[in-house]
Symmetry: D2
Subunit: 350 residues, 4 copies
């Protein structure tokens, strides 16, 4: 099978470091280029920001390139650019013929851009054919959702399929790494909770309806679920916890909900994709789990499973706690898994 060379756009940030860690020994994809901004021309190891462990030696020595399709040689690209940089650069790469798999927010809600959680809506990827035609691009843009959205929609999907979901009220407790580096000042968050993350609630509320919706007649039909989100920042490092309340169409009980979640598998598991965890949802039965620090790396592929616990059901009212790794399932890992599905669907060429 072909090995694909990939470029990582915006590789020097927190998420970029996780792309490198997950792609370094990837069986299909090979890191061919890293791009940055202020650090162009420097070695990657000198450009990297934040507190990550040292990159592997050959990656450390790579030169940081400008985020310019003319300077990048790769079969396709991953983008973890900041929103504004993504808005400018991603169409240029798509126009220049690159498939772009992006966890940036810039194009998620565009009518012709797939927003993918590989277990939930892989068929949305077919939109790229329409996108290419409409935009006259040789390449295309595929996006993955906000880190907080993933921890919500993954457990929602099996419940929606079996019980129907009408309304969701979610409060998040998000880790500081979600804000990147330097991100949240220590003076702001030590011993504190900040009940506000700019733009986050709207993202969760709108993205969920798109991901859970259908793809038909060349367009996305949004799901009718109502989502009311409140997003807070807490002094944890990695891992977004979500306290989820939802109202279902059919009544259930705790055991049913637990089984629906624990047994949920989908296309990435059926295809046994390299970055697919054996179980996208790990159900915890202990009274006090999942916990952010302890369970953030859950899954056979660490950080790729969402942990769910504290399932409580009163008829149509279902409550549980969800925990997902914001930089892995919520960013680098989710996007890599999306590219793996795309390869399976023939969207990366042979």
């Amino acid at each position: 099978m072909k090995t694909y060379s990939v470029a990582i756009l915006g590789a020097t940030g927190m998420v970029g470091q996780h792309y490198i860690k997950m792609l370094y020994r990837h069986p299909w994809f090979r890191i061919a280029a890293l791009t940055g901004k202020e650090s162009v021309g420097r070695k990657y190891v000198e450009a990297v920001r934040g507190e990550a462990p040292e990159p592997p030696k050959e990656i450390a020595e790579m030169e940081v390139l400008p985020t310019d399709p003319k300077k990048v040689d790769a079969d396709f690209v991953f983008s973890c650019l900041p929103t504004e940089a993504a808005r400018e650069a991603e169409p240029k790469f798509a126009e220049a013929g690159f498939p772009v798999f992006s966890d940036a927010a810039a194009y998620r809600m565009e009518g012709d851009v797939p927003l993918i959680v590989p277990e939930i809506n892989p068929e949305h990827l077919n939109m790229v054919h329409i996108q290419r035609k409409k935009r006259g691009w040789e390449g295309y843009i595929v996006t993955t959702p906000n880190c907080t959205t993933v921890g919500l929609v993954l457990p929602l999907q099996p419940l929606k399929q079996s019980l129907g979901v009408k309304k969701v009220i979610v409060t998040t407790m998000q880790a500081v790494s979600g804000a990147g580096y330097p991100g949240v000042a220590s003076l702001s968050i030590l011993g504190n909770v900040i009940p506000y993350i700019s733009g986050e609630e709207r993202k969760v509320e709108t993205e969920a309806a798109k991901i859970l919706g259908r793809y038909g007649d060349g367009r996305f039909i949004y799901d009718s679920v109502e989502v009311y989100a409140t997003c807070t920042r807490v002094p944890t490092l990695d891992g977004h916890m979500e306290s989820i309340y939802l109202e279902t169409e059919k009544p259930a009980d705790e055991e049913t909900v637990a089984e629906l979640l624990a047994e949920y598998v989908s296309l990435p598991q059926e295809l046994n994709l390299p970055t697919a965890p054996a179980r996208p949802i790990v159900v915890r039965r202990e009274p006090d789990r999942p916990q952010t620090r302890i369970d953030v790396d859950a899954g056979t592929v660490p950080g790729m499973s969402v942990s769910v616990g504290r399932i409580r059901v009163n008829g149509e009212k279902v409550r549980f706690i969800s925990l997902s790794h914001n930089l892995i399932r919520g960013a680098a890992g989710g996007t890599i898994l999306t590219a793996e599905v795309a390869r399976h669907m023939g969207l990366l060429g042979e």
Copy 2:
């Protein structure tokens, strides 16, 4: 006016220290006795657990007494005993003629025991007459709610009065001081969220209906509001934050909700009681407030006001953040204010 001598039962814990701080210069109440358990016979300053600032000199030198009505000389008592100790000791004190004002959980849900938030249901105090008769006690027991309940019901009350409240979904982010000392191990909570506090959710759900209910025909008629709570522990020191979603009977808008909350005053304010804050609810208009560490001491009587912010309204769906000081409004301060109302109602004698 008479000065009342008071005893504090269980005075050596975290809440006991706050009672002392708030009673030390109280215009009506004078600390006459402190009780403990392991520390009986020692000086208070040597018995006190935890990390509080030093008590005033004359309090520091007081001898810790056993929690025994025969050993205590006072006009009435405050109890911040642990639940099991309260279950045993409080009836003995009531039988021995002491009015007992307790923030312990033991008797809160008894059919003849008032559960008081002074701004909301002071008229429930009249139940003590029935309680005394029924139990054959010369004294009585009055309780105040769980620290988490207070931060919920205080903002609920004005909304209920004007808009009607049908259903409440609340997720809490509670400080470690709520678990007392030593309480939560540092290994358990540093950089972590624990989405479980034993028994807490049931307390919030049942206590709210009692407090918001009516007192009539010699019994408590519970409010019909449905409450669904999820309680978590976060690495903050003092102050319980609550993310509250509620559905009202009448639609509203953000300005209306903000005004209802900001302008809410009740009996303690009208009587200008010593421990009553000028405003029981402080409304924050900034996008990112209240924050736990910064706003926990809000109010003209520090820690006695609940801070509310991030008000978002969609028709009948109302969301906001509430923050209250778990040791002050949620324990010592709320109970002292209850005793002040009781004095006004003549329940402490002349």
Copy 3:
């Protein structure tokens, strides 16, 4: 007595907020002007960075002025500018006739600039006469030391006077507020210790010798004490702890050292200056004190006393823990007290 109008240069940062808090009700000094940089022209309340409590109303409404002597009308100025801004602005203010009391690092080690800890070397203030003549300034610059230096030299001074001090080895554990706002990223410091603060160790080592030295013949004669410092950052909010080991010329015992420290008073105490704490050093006898969070506000003027504990003496080897408030005694408070001494010495005019 005259009331002096003062300007605060760089008033919008963390230290500036402490100047305002301490000057707001000051009996001699009245806040007349606040300067800033990006925020020039805005109201102070909108310009202020960081997490401080709200400023008093009339301060909140003041317009932020540019840091330009022509735009500032005041009897003298306090400067808490960043080093580079201080290097540029402070001489302009001195030239324009303003006495400048600065906690910035820019001119601390200049040969004609006093570096003052009011209890230790107030007589160094006389250097301003030489400074004015030499530089042809109508005003002058007086500096106060790095926040870490203060917590070292204050307890050193009484020991030096009575026992002689030859060598000091100090390891600091410094709070994040010492880095200003936004300062240290939460990702960098949560659950971590960073054993490095750029430039800090050299400051402590050189400033101590100047402060503890003599002023004679129109010049500063440095003290011969050797100081070896290691400075670390820990996840605390306010308060720099220092683990100090020193070798004295004469042997001592623990009680002697404790008494020398506890009984130490100096000119600010003798003059009963408004910002002088009754005791510059508070000695703690408990085995586990001082602690950063608990003892940071020690003193009759909160934050103006250095707490010392864990005194251990083996002949000429003396060990103890020192804790000082980096924003108060180590910045705003120490500089205000210096200005109070200067007024007493007639250096502010009548």
Copy 4:
């Protein structure tokens, strides 16, 4: 080669969990028994305290045995009992014929008990022959030092060998896991530094002299190095940082010190023992490393190398930062490596 069956005494605590993790796939040693106290008779997975990841399945199912030599079947035992329990149990096991490798404090300073850091003083193990004869035991007790001692003496040893070391002043910043579970209350340490750990300083000061000393004529001759320690607790999870100042006999420079540390290897490396890291000391050249959270797992065997950085040398005055994993190199790992050396020396039988 023989596989040895081992028992872990006190297996349910924090250190016990690390023994299990490190022994589970050990090439020479096989976990045969786990002992506890309150949890005797329960499955290990139900008995384990604290916050560790789940043990492997066959360990999880093992029954917790009483700490009684009659109930334990093993070739030798590891002990991570609390001090008082160790004082009672370890001699019983030694008397019953078990070699006991203990990280408990009870017998470290006994005249006939080896206190081993495998790289530094493996020859001290020969004392067990005298110990057995003197005490009439078939087995014996070998101890390993306090977790804080290890991070000091490992870098001291190569400097002592080449430069001579006369005096050491050390300030530690120790993680909460060093106090076990539940250990330090979160209320005590959140946003705080506690400059005191009961008994710790004396341990560091006395153990260092024994470990760095010689074994000759059947007795331990203590090294003459003077150690002055100050031990503090900081809000980190794992990893004890130490700020070390020492005075050498010969002057040096930074490069020499860095090389002496970086190139230091000893018997465990020469024997290529299973738990020996390639380098016992990892030297960091960055200005701000090692950092507790980032570097705690340094080494080819994670947690078995001490990280050293910030080397500063002024003639005979040498300063540096040391960081070691208190539960691995400072407890379980160091003791396992000691047993590996003992096996090499024939002390475990064939």
